[in-house]
Amino acid sequence: MTERLIVELTIFMLAVFVGFEVISKVPSMLHTPLMSATNAIHGIVIVGAMLVAGALIGGTAGHVIGLAAMLLASINVVGGFAVTGRMLQMFKAKAGPGK
């Protein structure tokens, strides 16, 4: 348990640095698409929803909670990526002629 926690904390710490580093130089015109993309990325919680939905298959209440979590998480993932794609498309169309 403690060993697992240490490993997890290590991953966490490294991810914090990567998260800061990876977008440190972003032009403001990309702020909104980037926010939208990170929004889609936290939809990864769908994996957690699947795990919980599976583990609880017995109890009705638990099953409903798992399904609701999957529903919300999939809205987050699919909607998030689709919206980001649309934003970037608009952005490309505008920038295209200048390229």
Binding site: M1, L5, E8, I11, F12, V16, F17, V18, G19, F20, I23, S24, P27, S28, L30, H31, T32, M35, A37, T38, N39, I41, H42, G43, I44, V45, I46, V47, G48, M50, L51, V52, A53, G54, L56, G59, A61, G62, I65, G66, L67, A69, L71, L72, A73, S74, I75, V77, V78, G80, F81, A82, V83, R86, M87, M90, F91, K92, G98, K99
Partner: protein, 466 residues
Amino acid sequence: MSALQQTILPLAYLVTGLLLIVGLKFLSSPARAKTGNLLAGVGMVIAVVATGLDTHIVTWTDILIGGGVGSIIGYVSARMVKMTAMPQMVALFNGAGGGAAALVSAGEFMKLSAGGAIAAGELVPILLSTIIGAVSFAGSIVAFLKLQELMTGRPVTYAGQQVVNGIVVLAVVGIAVAMLLGHAGPWSFVALAIAAGLLGVLGVLPIGGADMPVVISLLNSFTGVAVAVTGFELGNSVLIISGTLVGASGTLLTTLMARAMNRSIANVLFGAFGSVKAAGAAGPTTAGGGTVRTATVEDVATLLAYGRSVIIAPGYGMAVAQAQHAVRELAANLEKRGVDVKFAIHPVAGRMPGHMNVLLAEANVPYSQLHEMDEINPQFDSADVALVIGANDVTNPAARNVPNSPIYGMPILDVDHAQHVVVLKRSMNPGFAGIDNPLYENPKTMMLFGDAKDSVSKLAAAVNTV
């Protein structure tokens, strides 16, 4: 078989983590942003498929019911929404993610409760993820309602607001502590989720509609943190990595956005408190409020490099900084990218007539690129960017429309007619004539502060890399 699964699933998660990081990296460059979005999407699919194939985890019916319906809702709403309504759409998706994190924790709580008392080490992440997820869920919905104008976009303030919010914070902390001390029944869990949701609602209510993008970005990083904590509770590395990535980059992004609006995050979040009277007057009319938008070198470089035509208006600042060689380099680099570059020469720019022409000729700027005021002024209307380098009074719109201004009636360069205006300036000090320049408060103006030579050199290098 089981050993194979034990290797394949973590490996798939590792690939997902990698793709998400590379995707985010690409997303911060205009040229590769689309690829970045695609990479992140592929990473997501890999994680979901790998988890789904781990058959004992979840049945296909469940995947179809939960995931299928959600995907359709998400996709259709993302496709249907108008571009102008994007921010509130993102808010809703973010709320869905926060809600999902809280629900996952609820499920985990139920599962562990069935096996007797939950150890504190396991309960802490469950409680944290529930609190943060519920705050993000409820806060995002309020943000959506405000942006969609289903409720007032103005800050909602009332007497005793801080006291009420304080009590709710205490309630959340109190319930969580009580649960850790052994009162971890299902109803305490429900109470905790409700109190946290209430906190999200009350937290967003006093924030004005104009600040919503910053708030959504902040709630977005909250959801990231909630997902990361969910990863701790499930012992799932990909949730920890992805959630933390979003939490960290989201926090940074929130700061950047607030800075671009010349606000601090604290000011955005708590600005309405204690200014109940002022808020009424300040809400709708910030136009004359004197806010100045500051930009970074990357912002300006992107704007220039992806524009079709750029008109450079140099002034005394360029002369003082001896920036003409750097300016020529910038112009040459832009032209290499296919950007049309012209120079607008105001007759009294600098400290002597022809000052600018001389300096630019010295730096080998082709004479055909230099245009006199009367010739260039009509062209600002079709220019993407007007880049003002150390020129102040000769671009001051007050000369046009403020009769009591000392420079009223002076012919000026119509830089404010361009689609974007970028002003390179040493500081906010007024120019030679000592008068304020409303151009700097124009919503389409971005300011890049610093020594002209220094800024232009950086820009010249940056336009090659964006």
